[in-house]
Symmetry: C2
Subunit: 166 residues, 2 copies
DNA sequence: GTTTATTTTCAATTATTTTTGAAACTATAA
DNA sequence: TTATAGTTTCAAAAATAATTGAAAATAAAC
């Protein structure tokens, strides 16, 4: 396969995968592009490569910074801002795990805790409580797993352990 | 909190969470509703409870069956079809892990394998290859983790182990 | 066979999300 | 200070995804 073709396919594939996981395509494609770029890129660069507008680029670059996946870089004598992706791919994974946990899991854990506190008089309420308790444990498991990823660096053991389940 | 209120809050919360993970709201809400219902429900029942159309109900109930999260049930003497959710919450989790793996992870693994096979002549191509290899290992890790969940039943050890990282 | 109850399909509509682009803003340089 | 280069914002437009509803299909009952 041609390099240019491979690059396009990667950016495309990454964008599609992201969409299925609730992340918008431009954001994923920007990330993909910066990941494989050996050089820092300007807003102009990414706009041209992905054929997207300035506004779109600006907003999604900012979101990527909020997620801790890319950084702004200044070059001496240059007025423009350059962007570089975090290249340590495990750090990227940890960062994604961290953010999704914070934004999505934690709030749900709280709601579930509230919900399992109702008093179960009717059969419906009993069933409800049972389901809430079950979900709590599953969500708790997901939470632990994400934490395991987040702390994988400190826990060499973890990654070794998971290999067992190949 | 009132039971009816709790029920609504749960269905609402579940729908929102699902949206953030790329699953449509109706499907998630249908699932939530059936999960907490002690009795099998007809299409009419769910339409009324969630205030959605027949078409919407029909399509999403079918999707939920494709995901292996709910079952059709026939009642003697009744012409209508009844739906029940899989109530074993760990089975639900395994099923979701299984399906997402099959639909999303596996195809990406294949693409990445293709992409890391290009020959790296230019610095760009070298960087590209490096990133593809890194991503392969991360996606491989995700794959292993999902597999661990899928086989959790057989692997009591797994769940115990993850508790360490609480 | 026909009638009737129920489910499914899918084109059209509606809702939601994403993207655009130009104006407003910021900061550096002259 | 004013001009200039670059960035951000956000209302409007476009694209995408979800939902409706009525017609078609299916299947049980007669």
């Amino acid at each position: 396969m041609e390099f240019t073709e491979a690059k396009d396919k990667f950016i495309q594939t990454w964008g599609t995968l992201a969409t299925q996981w609730g992340i918008n395509r431009s954001m994923a494609q920007l990330h993909a592009l910066l990941l494989i770029s050996p050089e820092p890129m300007t807003t102009e660069d990414v706009m041209e490569q992905l054929q997207i507008s300035r506004g779109n680029a600006s907003m999604n670059l900012r979101d990527l910074m909020d997620w801790g996946l890319i950084y702004k870089q200044l070059k001496a004598g240059e007025r423009k801002e350059f962007y570089v992706a975090e290249k340590d791919i495990w750090k990227v994974a940890r960062q994604v795990a961290k953010e999704r946990r914070r934004r999505e899991i934690t709030p749900v854990v709280e709601v579930l805790n509230d919900l399992k506190a109702i008093d179960a008089t009717t059969p419906e309420a009993q069933e409800f409580k049972r389901v809430m308790e079950g979900l709590s444990s599953v969500v708790g498991f997901a939470d632990n797993t994400l934490n395991a990823v987040i702390r994988a660096e400190e826990n060499w053991l973890m990654s070794q352990f998971l290999k067992v389940f190949r």
